[in-house]
Amino acid sequence: MGFFDTLAQWLGVKKREVNVLVVGLDNSGKSTIINHFKPNDAKNHDIVPTVGFNVERFKSKSLAFTAFDMSGQGRYRNLWEHYYRECHGIIFVIDSSDKLRMVVAKDELDALLQHPDLKNRRIPILFFANKMDLRESVSSVKCSSLMGLENLRDKPWHICASNAVTGEGLSEGVDWLTDQIKDLIVSRKK
């Protein structure tokens, strides 16, 4: 990074860039969440199942995010691990109306936490209990207990209920993630 970049960042003109990984089961709403953050003219109106991954960029109040929106379909989940090493944060999207597959999501989360690239890092994980507007959806508290999040002690995590279609709860979650990543960067500099 050049001198001018550093200067611009210090002055707050240019935002610091970070990578986040967006994972979760298929049809949980990952691409829709990312779509919500995009500026209006770049928004995609029909979201189709992602094959592989998509790179999207969006900004929060003080960071520029590069999101790797991974495919959630069963046969592509083993490809997530290729992107663990370079990410600064993880967004894990859960379909809170799909109680049946909550255990599958838990399995995937456990596999992710046990992965050598993530196991020993204090990487912040943001959980979205998505589709909160649906009638059969469970609360975020119930969701966290179903996912066994109380046992997750070595990494900062946060869960918030969200509705990706209207955007409810999304900015709250991303604000938390922004703070966590900034803290991490500051503590690493010291």
Binding site: V18, V51, G52, F53, V55, E86
Partner: protein, 890 residues
Amino acid sequence: MKYSKSLLSTWEIHHRPRIAILQRAGGGNPFNNLEKSTVLQEARTFNDTPINPRKCGQILTKLLYVINQGEAIGSLEATEAFFAMTKLFQSKDPILRRLVYLGIKEMSKIAQDVIIVTSSLMKDMTGKEEQFRGPAIRALCSITDTSMLQSIERHMKQAIVDKVPAVSSAALVSSLHLSKNSQEVVKRWVNEAQEAVNSDNIMVQYHALGLLYHIRRSDKLAVTKLVSKFSKHTLKSPYAYCLLIRIATKLIEEENAGSGTPMFDFIESCLRHKSEMVIYEAAQAIVQLKNTTAKDLAPAVSVLQLFCSSPKPTLRFAAVRTLNKVAMKHPAAVTACNLDLENLITDVNRSIATLAITTLLKTGNESSVDRLMKQISSFMSEISDEFKIVVVQAIRALCAKFPRKHNVLMTFLASMLRDEGGFEYKKEIVDCIIATIEENPEAKEAGLAHLCEFIEDCEHTVLATKILHLLGREGPRTPTPSKYIRFIYNRVILENAAVRAAAVSAIAKFGAHCEELLNSCVVLLERCQMDTDDEVRDRSTFYVNVLKQQQKALSSAYILNGLQVSVVGLERALHQYTLEPSEAPFDMKSVPLATQPLVEQKVREAPGGLGETPSKVSADKAAATRQDLYQEQLAAIPELANLGNLFKSSAPVEITESETEYYVQCIKHMFRNYIVFQFDCTNTLDDQVLERVTVDMEAGEGFEVVKQVACASLPYNKPGSTYTLMRLPEEPTSVTGTFPCTLKFVVRDCDPTTGEPDDEGYEDEYVLEDVEVTVADHVQKVLKANFAASWEEVGPENELEDTYALATVNTLEDAIKNITQYLGLQPCERSDKVPEGKSSHTLYLSGIFRGGHDALVRAKLALDSSGVTMQLTVRSTDPSVSEILATAIA
């Protein structure tokens, strides 16, 4: 592939300044000496955040370079590099992104899980950034297999009709590539392709037409419609026109049609197109067609003639190259251009000049040869090997055409042999000299001397062994065989094992043929017994022992003429023998003979058909093993399994007209005591199914039908075979006969709508033409390289001699053809070729008669006013065989 090249060139444009600077600085190619592992190591930089587009671009370029240099990258390493590369999608840098597309395409076949980039590419393909869209489509199609194709089908259809030409072209070409594996899916895009043909862009139109043709390729009617439709309404793109001409040419070739068809008229009309490309394509298509008359050719040739004096070198080159290719086929047409070709001899472009001269050589007359040869030798050193080969081929044609000029040509070839050149080039020269030696006895001494000189300093083992074999065959029969021994023995001292072994064989042949050299040869061979190589030692020991016996018969059988069996057959027979060990020694006569003469009769094609040569070679190979195939087929039928070894299978003979209801071919398989007639039947009536098909043969004259193997069912247009087994007469001399045949079967009529056959059938029969068994069917052709030795070996014991007057033939050539055909024997020592202007000739024929008896025939022919007189001498190891052959002509 063309398009990845165009992409690469854009990439090159981006990087050329950098390369140029480095080169000026004396660095040469910056990508030289790249290590695969270092580059793969560097590729990990792709994982860094934030991405440095310049640096990553350089590394990716290196990676692409390494892959394109042919370095093999393991699947694991490739996958790692591939996933690192996927992270470059973060960057929006256009150069980097396009390099990533290239990277995806290159690695799509070596890395795993490449589908990871599907969504990213789909986003780019439908995105706003126009220069990403085309390349993204190409990359996407390279990672998509049939199972994934469904998911991108909608986008592909849209892209084909996109209004941006680059996108549409990319989609069309990618569809073409996809159709290799997913023909069915791509077929559904035909409407979109149809729409794209109407595009204003010349490339899109061309690609769309290409795809349309590809989709309909297997349906001839649809292709015909396609051509006639587009030949009427005018296409914009000259490329599309060229493609249309090629399609039309292919149709004409397939139908074997000549001029006068709408297809030909279309091609002819293209001669007046305004684009030079189209005009040339049309002219080229016309001159290469098989069935054309002088009238059809004239406009095409005059177009080419015009191009010959064009200021554009490409046009001149194209025209002269085409003329060169067809020079042998249409000499008269090309002669018309002679004046223009003369002007091109001094063309600054050497390739054009070479082609012009060789064309003139092919069409020219004897007097101009000297002048042209002088002209061409002035710049032989300036042209590439490829064109030197063209020159050699022209000389080869000349040698055949003007045997009297062999002196000039041989000297020229010899000087070319001395020059530097690659293997292909040298091989062509050697082949040319060998062909000349065999065609023209006067050139033999000089040719052999040149070849001897060549092997003194020859780095190509294949050529050296080939020449040594030739020396062994031809050398002993020259007036002074001793002078070749020195050249050959030098090889034993100086060369590698393969050449040494060939040299040993050659020396042995001299020893066997020339009595005065025998002792010296034995001494030389005894020295070779100390050789370091097994093969050389084995050969020399074997030859020394045979030569020391001093028996003509032994030398002839084991040195001069070698084994004549089919290698596949020998392998199978030996395998069988080891499986069932018996007290009896292995019988060499039970091994089927090699059907060698096929290769021998191969006519060298005119250089125009360069592309066809490989297929012809493979056809020869197939022919050589044809008999082995039959043997296996027959052995698979239980009724015919125990007849022993197949001696000979005749070529198929039609015994119906080819347009009749039932089409039947007969193949005669000869065994020691039996004949099997194989009838290949085809039912050409779509409303009938034939069942229990047999062929009744009326035997007589000692022949006896033993068994019939019926063909159970013969549906429409599916060939089936039925067999009839016949015992040969006890009397050894009665071998020929004519047998009337009738096809017998049960017919079941089919329902015309459903094609279901009726339950009830009725018997019917169909009279076929007679099947004839001739003397030739009992004889297998075997080439004796040294006829005289075999003649002595068989000896005069069962010799028969008779004189005939052949009143019906008027030339020696015809007489030779007839005799060879009647007897079914192989002409030896090129005695089937009569030197020009001679009135007498001796024909040597050799072969093996059923039962493994050697059969040799010497026919002395003399031409006089009343016809041809022949003195026929037959020698054989069996008296009845001599009798059969001697009476066969009468």
